[in-house]
Amino acid sequence: MKHLKGVAIIFGITMLGEILNKKIPVPVPAGVYGLFILLGLLCCGMVKLSDVLTTGNLLLDLMPLMFIPAAVGLMEQFEMLREILVPLVLITVISTFIVMTVTGKTAELVLGRRKKEEQ
């Protein structure tokens, strides 16, 4: 039963995340609340990494599978997709290059300055 403790902790935290998502009127997904709860518990030592590691890795390993059902829903929306295909592709492509560039350039700037200060 090596997963028992991990499953209990992760499901418990997930449930807390769902409750927070319902009770707090800001658009934060339940999983993100849970992420912070687990991170906090790990940092303060109330949950040990070894308690959640095997179960956590299993869930993370299988995560791509969990996106398939929602994405297959695309087949119901081919009509809509055809209408907006050009802007959709352009927005996706252009903004990806923008994000890569501004993130990388900002980091180079900060790291370059730090290197100079060290010298």
Binding site: P29, L35, L65, S95, I98, M100, T103
Partner: protein, 224 residues
């Protein structure tokens, strides 16, 4: 329809996608993209409806929330890395997330997209688990979000090397941050090939950029 039909063909399609990628080695053959297309093709060819497929397949999706919780594990492991490069990490990812939501906003204005399409694209650069939640909370079409997230990831994965050369991004830390912020987990797969520092920085960026977008997206969502 058997309840496990949807679950089985989803997993089988992914397995086939993994096999194809191994066999041919093309980056465009992302196993997730291949799996999605295969399932759609299979349903269209057999005439099985999406609803019939999803009565079983939807149970896979229920595990997404606990899996998102588990993203805390890699983040916890990289906390040291975050502390050591705190300013570079926070500043560049903040600029990256701002660049992402602002560019989507401006282009959505330009193309006169409706609100529902605009908010579906807002989380396109972040990890699918968090992006789906962001889109849902903002009233977007989750399906569209998933597809744009996957396309973004594959694009980043394939073009990053050439693009970094073109715009002159050389520092391994900068490359990793750019990959993870722009192209989430699929980009991180490429960053891991570039090197250990790139990979670690990229996986750290997935979590940080995802969390920042949770804050940024609702602020931007009301603008269109």
């Amino acid at each position: 329809m058997p309840l496990y039909f949807g679950m089985f063909i989803s997993v089988a399609a992914y397995l086939l996608g993994m096999w194809l990628k191994k066999k041919l080695g093309w980056a465009v053959l992302n196993p997730l993209l291949v799996a999605i297309l295969l399932v759609i093709l299979f349903l269209k060819l057999t005439g099985i409806s999406y609803d019939d497929y999803n009565t079983g397949a939807c149970y896979i999706s229920y595990f997404l929330t606990p899996a998102t919780v588990c993203l805390a594990i890699p983040l916890y492991k990289q906390l040291e890395l975050l502390k050591k490069n705190f300013i570079a990490v926070i500043l560049s990812i903040t600029v990256g997330v701002a660049g992402s939501v602002l560019s989507v906003f401006l282009m959505s204005m330009l193309f006169r997209l409706e609100h529902v399409l605009y908010v579906s694209l807002l989380p396109k650069s972040i990890t699918t688990a968090i992006g789906m939640g962001v889109s849902e909370e903002a009233g977007g079409i989750v399906t569209l979000t998933v597809v744009s997230i996957i396309i973004t990831g594959i694009l980043g994965n394939i073009t990053a090397d050439a693009w970094f050369k073109l715009v002159g991004i050389k520092h391994p830390i900068a490359k990793g941050l750019a990959m993870g912020t722009a192209a989430h987990a699929i980009g991180t797969a490429k960053a891991l090939e570039m090197g250990e520092v790139e990979g670690a920085m990229s996986s750290l960026s997935i979590a940080v950029a995802g969390l920042m977008t949770v804050v940024a997206a609702p602020l931007m969502a009301g603008l269109i």
